[in-house]
Symmetry: D3
Subunit: 245 residues, 6 copies
Amino acid sequence: MRTDGRSLNETRKVKITRDFTKYAKGSILIETGETKVIVTASVDEKVPPFKKDSGTGWITAEYSMLPSATAERNSRDIQKLKLNGRSAEIQRLIGRCIRAGFDMDKIGERTIQIDCDVIQADGGTRTASITGAFVATVIAIAKLMDEGLIKENPVKSQIAAVSLGKVGGEIMTDLCYEEDCRADVDMNLILDGDENIVEIQGAAEHGTYKKAELDALFELGAASIRKLFEAQRAVMTENELSLLK
Amino acid sequence: MRTDGRSLNETRKVKITRDFTKYAKGSILIETGETKVIVTASVDEKVPPFKKDSGTGWITAEYSMLPSATAERNSRDIQKLKLNGRSAEIQRLIGRCIRAGFDMDKIGERTIQIDCDVIQADGGTRTASITGAFVATVIAIAKLMDEGLIKENPVKSQIAAVSLGKVGGEIMTDLCYEEDCRADVDMNLILDGDENIVEIQGAAEHGTYKKAELDALFELGAASIRKLFEAQRAVMTENELSLLK
Amino acid sequence: MRTDGRSLNETRKVKITRDFTKYAKGSILIETGETKVIVTASVDEKVPPFKKDSGTGWITAEYSMLPSATAERNSRDIQKLKLNGRSAEIQRLIGRCIRAGFDMDKIGERTIQIDCDVIQADGGTRTASITGAFVATVIAIAKLMDEGLIKENPVKSQIAAVSLGKVGGEIMTDLCYEEDCRADVDMNLILDGDENIVEIQGAAEHGTYKKAELDALFELGAASIRKLFEAQRAVMTENELSLLK
Amino acid sequence: MRTDGRSLNETRKVKITRDFTKYAKGSILIETGETKVIVTASVDEKVPPFKKDSGTGWITAEYSMLPSATAERNSRDIQKLKLNGRSAEIQRLIGRCIRAGFDMDKIGERTIQIDCDVIQADGGTRTASITGAFVATVIAIAKLMDEGLIKENPVKSQIAAVSLGKVGGEIMTDLCYEEDCRADVDMNLILDGDENIVEIQGAAEHGTYKKAELDALFELGAASIRKLFEAQRAVMTENELSLLK
Amino acid sequence: MRTDGRSLNETRKVKITRDFTKYAKGSILIETGETKVIVTASVDEKVPPFKKDSGTGWITAEYSMLPSATAERNSRDIQKLKLNGRSAEIQRLIGRCIRAGFDMDKIGERTIQIDCDVIQADGGTRTASITGAFVATVIAIAKLMDEGLIKENPVKSQIAAVSLGKVGGEIMTDLCYEEDCRADVDMNLILDGDENIVEIQGAAEHGTYKKAELDALFELGAASIRKLFEAQRAVMTENELSLLK
Amino acid sequence: MRTDGRSLNETRKVKITRDFTKYAKGSILIETGETKVIVTASVDEKVPPFKKDSGTGWITAEYSMLPSATAERNSRDIQKLKLNGRSAEIQRLIGRCIRAGFDMDKIGERTIQIDCDVIQADGGTRTASITGAFVATVIAIAKLMDEGLIKENPVKSQIAAVSLGKVGGEIMTDLCYEEDCRADVDMNLILDGDENIVEIQGAAEHGTYKKAELDALFELGAASIRKLFEAQRAVMTENELSLLK
């Protein structure tokens, strides 16, 4: 029996609210149970130095938690003058995964800047960020196409992510914070629309795990991500859906 | 005629949502028109060094804007390794004003840490932060009293704030961003429940202003703040209201 | 009776020494009682990015205290890698106030960089900085006009500043440090030559204050500033005085 | 045919030199082809705050590259005042993986600080760091046991790591830098002595990959790691080997 | 013929003003020609960690230039978040040299913190800082002895410093900035009262120099320092002079 | 009798290994007894701002110690966000000394970036860095000449450095760490091929020293440096040697 009464293969309720804030090109609030993340996609008509004059674009992400997002208040990075190591790791992951869903050549020489700001954290903030970031990016892309700034559909595939784990000997999906703390294995699975792997990260700090368990986690994760794909599509407009093929 | 059709003495709609996030002792979302600020009050059972072993408490504030809160994305402080100068100025103001409403001796040797995170900025973010911070702090104080950690009511007075300005020759209340950009005089007025002054800041970058105009701005501001006091009280519980005397 | 025997409406002796250092375009030492600030105005033939190619100029200020300027040594900002929050607030105030006295269009696309370095602090360092900065800026402007770099007189009005307060129930002008520590209300008033308001900041951390007290503080401040205007003019050359109308 | 003539399942020559430097408790140089990393394990008789008074120990890691370790000189972190994001990600990985091999309770309340300094980088620096860090840590642990500071053997399992990838459509092991740049899939596999998974990270920036490919990469990686286990044991003393059971 | 008409062995006029600021235990302004440095010695009843519980004291120094101290304004360290490399080098030199003049054991477990703030720089700021710092430290020490905090005279010897150089083929003393820029050899010589060497630093960026030239520079420097010793003694009280033996 | 049995005028065994790493233009490992420093010379086809469009080149150096290079682990600069003051001082010294050996005009508008990374520290790391940096720079210069990027031989003279000291009353050369800790006088002598002085730094923290001792230290140092010149030449190719004239 899980903390919140769910069965092992049951994901938490996902709610995506479009246009949660009004200034960014794409903006959503994603809620996965008690986890809440504001995800925005802003467009910058410049690219980083390594892409300068390449004619191709870039997607990058930043991730941060509000100080009050966790049970114990966490201090702001600027207080310590250091980007939190965990945030550094997560925002690199988000950037890599979202880039996998889009064709950089077709985006043109501009940057899509994703911001994932966690306002409440109850486990799975990085996977919620990725799932939300895909939607925010598609919203932004659709507008750029409407405005004629992007000519060809750059969407390669739908992308979504789920966290999985082995807790108390059981393989389960979409861990809440309390389960995450007790987990022996902690996995983040990111798939594309054909259930191909974009990225998999599976770590075992308290004891290792077998390849067969990895396989089971993968199966469970793929099933969960199918539901996330539906949740993503449910909030998209016809126009946006048409970009997904 | 104002940008959004309001009359000169008309404030924007204020909406305060209690318990917007669940971990901080006190947490609200305050919306003033299109300005939206998450304000939380967290309790830390420690005090800063200059208060150590004094038996008295402290209230302090931090203020920040999400990168996507403004029409043009603003980069995170941690990217530049510097606290934004404007944020530094604002968070000092919030801290001073909220401290004016509470008796530090009665709070006991603990810190109430206020976090004001602007998720959408359309003018008046600092005054919305103060108005919201008062509510979040009272919510936190009421819980601390319920828990027996604070014995005596530390609330000295209700505190709220409004922005005012002279725009195109007209004195007006509660400026939206577009008005703020065109303002000749920009004032922030913070009053207590007896309409005494907690702090007044009135600056004129584009031309100076007369004492008579300051008087007019004050009168207009006092009237606006009366409405904000009502909005604050409207979301408080009986228990919390009883602390306001 | 005040700490140093002054009457309530009596300012401390102000002494402005021209050309205190030799390299900056304008350089003065301002002494207000025991408060001593070196204020310089340097000219940089560049403007900040937001003024680039605008044809108009900019005036900005930095404020800092020597470590030994206070009774208890204060550590350097660079030791903590953080600009002191109080300094951030003060230097923004100085910049705003001095800009109010000059026409940015007539300065041309260059920056006047004001540096206020407090070598001894006995209260009123920010207002002394503003009063001194006006003189240093006029000295620099006069030289730029002599050199033909500025064609039209950019001086809009004389600017000076005084601190005021309510201490032990009494309204008084030009607080020394000891009075400042005991003050219930702490006000900074900055006026132009017609006694119009450039900026007013009045804060009450220990108890609030009434509008009538604000009016009394204003009256007292205006009288004090008249004397500061005289002190500023007393050290100016004929040439510089001619720029003040 | 691979860049350096190897077959797809052929790892580069691994050379571990013990006692490469003399001050740290454990110190080795690990060379994997042209990749060279100095790995040291230092002992600090303190623990981080979150372990204070827990009676249990901690293992943590730092990773850095010399400026001249890469074809194009990379500037030092201190020049930018920022820990490189890639380094932040890698050092967290190293720490997690090495902790998986040791029992924190048996280490006692002390910290084993691992430093991985890459002096020459030709791909696979993070996996070489992990493989080397296991040896350096065992050397340090063995000395601490000799000195009587650790009473019970804290080694839970041998740990080693290999990088894998899909390059030009081919699954291959132990990528050199040139292959890494061209890789469609980039995987890091870290196993324990029973070929259980400590951590797996498999990312696809240029196109996704199938679960069957993950399985193939895993198989290839497991075979490569068996050789790394031999290389680790080959440089250990009888005493150290006895700790591996 | 030198820039300012001096002969080769002629030092600039030295003027030391006691009690230039009032808060630090010891405070002087030292002027060497157009070079002006405020030097203060503050007392902190703590010692750095490496001296904790040693019963002995410490003397340390910080050196900084005001932004307007030089012909071209130099930006503040805090703007770049980096202590200027030249300042880092100089303040280490000042600390070493002043420590050589005092017995750390007799100072007791406290720190004398020297601050050298250059308000105008025309060459020789580091040597003026050292010469001034010796006086400020003796003033502070004499007060600490008066107050009974230091029991035994900790002064070991008088310390002073001069800059020397080879400019246009000529050996000369006390270089002004213009000479310093043209110098082939740049030397800083710090001697004690018996003309023993505390520190010598002689660098040749534009061409090297012969040992015989070093000897000549030393002789010239020793003669100059004798005059500086007199200048130091001329501003000391009887009480302070008695500490020099 | 010295710590390691050497006579007073006996230097430790010096070993220079060419091409220690493969990416930098010039790369060596220098070992002086137990002191080991990796020194590389990288070429950047840009110059710092103050050399822009001057047609002349620049040589600059960075110095750092690996955390595990010392008996007690030293934390990385990035952990404290501050360049170690000692490192700042040393890297400025290295830059100055190496620049003395080369003609900036003949290098052309490019920068030779020297990196000195100490992997094991047993005294004399800064002098070993200089001695090694000369070799690494010559290797790089020779390659640039082979590639036709530098036309004229820019080598002005051979440069090497030795540390000296007065320990327990005895003048001795090439101090190891243990001697360095006990030294009354600590000197760094850098000479060119004609035994002219490039830089001399002689400090006495524990007691001062006489001019006659400086002379003795110089003589001893000059003799030691003759041996270092031989060690440098011994690893150079015919081609490189020809550049030394």
